[in-house]
Symmetry: C2
Subunit: 239 residues, 2 copies
């Protein structure tokens, strides 16, 4: 299996053999985390970043009263806290949604890349810029879309991201997220998430039984969600 980060960056621009070699050998260890386990703590200052080899993770920000907002979902190939290379301390927690296998990369290695490999540096920078672009899209869906369209939008996004890394096809994917977590991502209550899920099911915009979500008609769901995939930057280009 090719290295997931190489595939991911390679989807945006061609990587040289030397660059691929560097990424191949960048991890100093592989850790496994159980579902629900905290991978990175808010307020911590680490000297490494984590790349997902297997499983789902989320970035969570806690409020004082115990409620939380999820600011991102992460899947195979995502460099969950690459920003902690320069941005310290961590402004959020990273939590394993399912069991996760993570490759740990020392910040000294990333620093060495910035010293000697400008193109690869730009590609890593790009990957954090895409995270930010997704944050902005979430701001719009959170601030301006009604709950049903908001959920539909998230499902469109996750499907395309999963498809890009080979974890989804034929408009169906495994979605290991409880309605409670979904509520934390959508800024809703659990009860209302349930109402909205059932509305989308009733309208045949999605199917969802067990952990598997299906999209009977992607164009219809896109339209309903006002979804435009540009912000995911899934196209190859010189950087």
């Amino acid at each position: 299996m090719p290295h997931p980060l190489i595939s991911k960056l390679g989807r945006r621009d061609r990587l040289s053999d030397a660059e691929q070699q560097i990424l191949e050998t960048s991890a100093f260890s592989v850790h496994t985390f159980a579902a629900g386990e905290e991978i990175v703590a808010e307020g911590s200052t680490s000297d490494y970043s984590c790349l997902i080899l297997e499983g789902w993770a989320s970035r969570n920000k806690q409020l004082k009263d115990g409620r939380q907002q999820i600011t991102a979902f992460h899947i195979l190939g995502d460099f969950v806290d690459l920003h902690s290379f320069l941005l310290k301390p961590m402004d959020h927690t990273v939590v394993a949604i399912t069991a996760c296998k993570m490759a740990m990369v020392k910040h000294s290695v990333v620093k060495e890349i910035t010293e000697n490999h400008p193109h690869l540096t730009r590609m890593l920078w790009l990957s954090t810029l895409i995270d930010a672009s997704i944050h902005r899209e979430w701001l719009v869906t959170l601030g301006r879309l009604p709950a049903p369209a908001h959920l539909a939008h998230l499902i469109c996004e996750l499907y395309l991201r999963l498809e890009a890394v080979g974890e989804a096809k034929d408009y169906s994917f495994v979605f290991p997220v409880t309605q409670t977590l979904l509520a934390d991502a959508l800024g809703l209550s659990t009860v209302h998430v349930n109402r909205v899920v059932q509305e989308l099911r009733r309208e045949k915009l999605i199917s969802w039984r067990g952990a598997r979500v299906g999209i009977p008609n992607f164009d219809r769901l896109k339209l309903f969600a006002e979804f435009d995939p540009t912000y995911l930057n899934l196209l190859v280009e010189q950087r």
Copy 2:
């Protein structure tokens, strides 16, 4: 007057004379934009980025029905669309809130920096990471805070950012944003923004007459907004 980007980055880490020199001479021109004018169009692919020398700007994302969400406010020293160096096409518009003076920097110059000046590259990367960190904080305030705390939080943030660039002191600053724009940033209706502004005034958490906002008791406002400035990364550190 020192170059605002040098001061801004210099607040996060020491810049060498050579680095300062590069930033000094990086702009190829200075443009002025009128209030309300579009500085960068959504969907466009430019070969330069803009740095604010004077005035306020915002990043706006439009919906089909004409409504919009503001995803960021920008002030003196902010590199409004540095991400367009690697992320194309633009996923949002940049609009001048007041009259703006902008320094335009060619992407070829930024690229040259990434080729030859790793530390300066990291500092520029950092500045986009701070943007992302603010996006995440906004996701929390948008998703989980009630409207009054949300507005209070924004005012805390803007005060500290303005103070850091010398545009605010003594807990008072010029806030050139109409309640309609504010509604687009907070994900609220204009009417509700007005209700909330008056609530904060009534509670003596803020004063706001004309374009000037005052904060009689910053600690009380922080508490009310659950505001923690960590995410602004205003502290100096080696990068």
